[in-house]
């Protein structure tokens, strides 16, 4: 086990997969000479040459679509979209074409490609550069959508995504690139199947369900909850938004009887809405309190730092929501229950 950054994990995995399969090619704006806006592809042009690390013009629809067509004929393109905010320009190629080709043509063609792209707010980039529109893609049959929160997951899921024969939207988060974590050595064990959630922390009192940066925050919050309040929270990292591992989510809630969903996207119609509905459908009778959702405010993110921070979900929001949920259900049913002080009115959920 080595401890490396999320960025390094992505870089190393791209390199390993390019070494493993000569059909893997990288495409995107500024990924070659410039080494990528976030340096994920640093050094790869030098190592693999222009044929396999292809700088594209600023033409998201054109080059994403070209990757789809290239995949149909047998390459395995890994496309980088500089940030997810520019994905709108390519959405026709992703939703109308990449997602549909296998099905609509009766299984005669497949689109083995990956679109990597970072999202997330909190960098004072304002409305057009701070979005989390993952639900647009998670909504679409034919796409697979993953959003890893740790370097190990980034590695394991990227390996699977590149080897998968379907189009995979691989969501990164700007704020995660420099985070560190243990990553297993190269080998079969470091491949993580798409479509699987992960319990990042086991707990008995409440399920916190999150993904990407919010899952990383949730793990820290769970430790804080244990230390400060004696609350034993389970953290379910959704990790794969499509397919969604409903089984892991539902089984966790059946065990803890309470749930808070924690996400960085907008709440209305968001990923958390799907999770909450799933819990309602499959574990309603196990719930001791309503499912709470903590998500971003429903606005275009402002530039002003104080304004921006007021719109984003934070660790404190999660702490408050967990405590409120427990209070609403009479506290944790363990050792005769626990006292949860100062709850009134604190929950945003």
């Amino acid at each position: 086990m080595a401890i490396i950054t999320y960025r390094q994990a992505l870089h190393d995995t791209l390199r390993d997969e390019m070494l493993r399969d000569e059909n893997v090619v990288l495409m995107g704006e500024e990924i070659g000479v410039f080494e990528g806006s976030y340096k994920i592809t640093a050094g790869l042009l030098q190592e693999f040459g222009e044929k396999r690390v292809r700088d594209t013009p600023i033409a998201e629809e054109g080059f994403v679509g070209a990757a789809v067509g290239a995949a149909m004929l047998g390459l395995r393109p890994v496309v980088e979209i500089m940030t997810i905010n520019f994905i709108m320009l390519a959405i026709d190629q992703i939703v109308n074409h990449a997602a549909k080709i296998h099905y609509m043509f009766g299984g005669q063609s497949r689109v083995p490609m990956v679109i990597r792209t970072p999202g997330g707010g909190g960098q004072q980039l304002a409305a057009t550069h701070s979005q989390n529109p993952e639900v647009w893609f998670a909504h679409v049959p034919g796409l697979k959508v993953v959003a890893p929160s740790t370097p190990a997951d980034a590695r394991g899921l990227l390996k699977s995504a590149i080897r998968d024969d379907d189009p995979v939207i691989f969501l990164e988060n700007l704020a995660l690139y420099n985070t560190r974590g243990e990553v297993p050595e190269d080998g079969p064990d470091d491949v993580i199947p798409l479509g699987t959630a992960d319990i990042k922390r086991e707990g008995k009192d409440i399920s916190i369900i999150a993904y990407s940066r919010m899952a990383a925050v949730a793990v820290n919050v769970a430790e804080q909850l244990a230390n400060e309040y004696g609350i034993d929270a389970e953290v379910v990292d959704i990790r794969s938004l499509r397919p969604l591992d409903r089984t892991t989510i539902v089984n966790s809630v059946k065990k803890t009887n309470r749930a808070v969903v924690f996400e960085e996207d907008w709440r209305s119609y968001g990923v958390g809405a799907e999770v909450a509905a799933t819990i309602q459908e499959y574990a309603f009778d196990y719930l001791d309190a309503p499912v709470r959702r903590i998500a971003a405010a429903e606005v275009a993110l402002p530039y002003s730092k104080v304004m921006e921070l007021s719109a984003l979900p934070t660790a404190q929001h999660l702490v408050d929501a967990v405590r409120a949920t427990l209070a609403a259900s009479g506290g944790a049913r363990r050792n005769g229950g626990i006292v949860i002080p100062g709850l009134a009115g604190v929950a945003r959920g």
């Binding site: 054109g62 099905y103 043509f105 049959p141 699987t196």
Partner: protein, 404 residues
Amino acid sequence: MASNGSARSGSGGRAAAQGGGRTSTASRKRNAEPNGHGSAETDVAATAQSPTSLRGRPESREQLIDFYRQMVLIRRFEEKTGEMYTRAKIGGYCHLNLGEEATVVGVMSALEPRDYVFTNYREHGYILGRGVDPNRVMAELFGKETGVSRGRGGSMHLFDAEARFMGGYAIVGGQLPLATGAALTIAHKGLDEVVVCQMGDATTNIGAWHESLNIAQLWNLPVIFLIVNNQFGMGTSVEKGSAEPDLYKKACAYRMRAERVDGNDLLAVRDATLRAVEAGRKDKAPTVLEAVSFRHRGHSVVDPDRYRPREFVEKGRSHDPIPAYGRSLLDAGLLDENGLKQIDDQVNRIVEASVAFADESPEPEPKDLYVFDFASEVPNIDRSLPGDHTGLADIGGAAALGGR
């Protein structure tokens, strides 16, 4: 306006942009492009009456006759398609190639089996021209399991992997980036295949057109952007939709080879395509090929076609490529009237058989709704149907809704 439209049906096929071909006196070379790939434009009137002569052609008699047979097949097939649509055997949208047969066969005949074809939604003729069994094409229009896309695609989404017919695409311009990418794989692997990407005139106004041409030229990709300029995108004339109505000239902005041909002249289209194929195979050079064509009917089967001026339509119909080519066969002594009729009869039987085949074919089974949903399996795919949750049986499925 009508006369504007047809006035531009040039015969650039005679005036090859690059690499020669036969040059008619009526044509004049243009310095349309800064890199020296000239584009050509000719006077129209010259060609409409006098299609490329069959004399001295490199093709065999059988081939020349087969071009006719293919045009007639598309004509009859499309007429029958229209009829089946009105009889509600065919659903959805349905766009016919009636009138465009010379363009379709001219282009398809210039390709090898190893080449690839991407088209828009007006593609029945192209897949037939690619040699795919009319039975399976008709069956797809009928939505049957025996159809080329197994009933999942319909009229606008025909596909045949074996024929390298890579699909009809119903989003205007959607096929351009895909075709460019297909050519990228070809170039990447060092193969000598080419990709034809068919589209209509109105498609040259969409962003994907510009992005794709730019990328194809930058990266030297063997793709032929075939514009079937039938002079209307639905009800919008080419003059109203494109600031540069000489569409092949738009290639200048990307320093791309470009050529315009009379789309009613099968052999001119074929020759121009052969030049483009050669440029693609040898130099990995993309081409814009504009075939000035005419659709005999409305945009789709249900379109009453009220927007095209009457003289324009009459003139267009009067230049029907099929009788014209048939006459050339007669004039060249390759066939007699009886021979033409035999072809007609043979084609009619094929088309009738395709309807019978489609009619008798089984519908896809609703239980197979999720077949083809993903190419590789992953856990936790939800395959429920509306009204049930059986796709989630492992967490209680439908039973969970009933309580603990």
